[in-house]
Amino acid sequence: MELLELMKSRRSIRKYQNKEVEKEKIQKIIEAAIWAPNAENDQPWKFIVIRDQHKMDLIQDVSVKGAADFFFAQKEHLMEKFKGLDLERRKKLVLQFTSGEFFAFINTAPVLIVVLAEIDKTPYAIPSASAACQNMLLMAHELGLGAVWTVIGAVDNTNREKVKKIIGFDNPKWDVVAIVPLGYPAESPSVKGRMRKPVEDAIDWQ
């Protein structure tokens, strides 16, 4: 697909087919990731590819609880955000956030990739690993796969430490940049639904 078209049509995918992802495709996606720019060619990243269901369940548990804590604290704000909806729907939606239900899908993907940044190596580790993660998402889309960059389970440091422990990287060298479920999409959210402010709002000409 042409590059800009690909960027435009990429959506976050949260429902997956019950179908394995080929190892070659996973490798290709991560190969795309490692060509991201990184300062001084330190390549400060690691990609943990998880297919072990038990580990996925543990990470899901951290994510759901992390999301519940995070969104419960801003419940009022969420009610305000969705004020255009009728009360019943609004309450239901807010509950999906504050219960962490929105992140329950994480262990339903056939693959979970945890992106780690090697933060003791360079002050640029997190930006570089984030750029790599974006390459990964674009490549997944190009290969007909769906993915979503989640960080909610990693919002606070305690949760990130838990995730690191689950994958055996319990070491201050590393930080969790993204938890990315990956699989063949079982949903196709409309591209129109992906609203962005007009580009001129994001630009400041000087």
Partner: protein, 203 residues
Amino acid sequence: MELFEAIKTRKSIRKFKDKPVEKEKIIKIIEAATLAPNSENKQPWKFVVVQDKDKKKEIAKISILGGIKRYTSIKDELNEKFKAMEDENRKKLLDRFVSGELFHFLLECPVQVVVLADNNIIYAVHSCSAAIQNLSLAAHALGLGSCWTMIGSINSKNEKKIRKLVGYPEDNWKIAGVLALGYPDQDPNPRKRKPVEEVIDWQ
């Protein structure tokens, strides 16, 4: 351009033609940037497009001085890093780092883009980094070259100086990068990466 080709052939460009960049192209690549994923669609970014000569020069100066400071302080580590090179080349390269010469291209590029992350929103720097990657790929696909620098912003005093220069002194803003942008006037050597298997851990 196809994605993988764009990803693989994109290189940091540090030498530019003396040719302005069309406004439509700048808009197009920033539009690509804004398509990056970001938490709750809060779009926590601002792209300051700097073409004013004096402002560009000031930003470049801060970056060059930041480079001198950083690389003087880690000179030994750099020397170790380049140890595979012949003495003469290694000295030359080290000198480019330590003298700040490595960042002179920020003086000469036709456009600088200062990417600001709104830290009131969680994971803003992550989102902006993903946006910068989209921007770099889109620029490459349109025949432009770019280089993402953070040398002026890793030191918080310098970072604030740049923000003040472009009119964002409020501390919720954080610079995610200063990008040089223009038509490339060089074709750098291919980049090197570790074999992909070394960065994957199958579990």
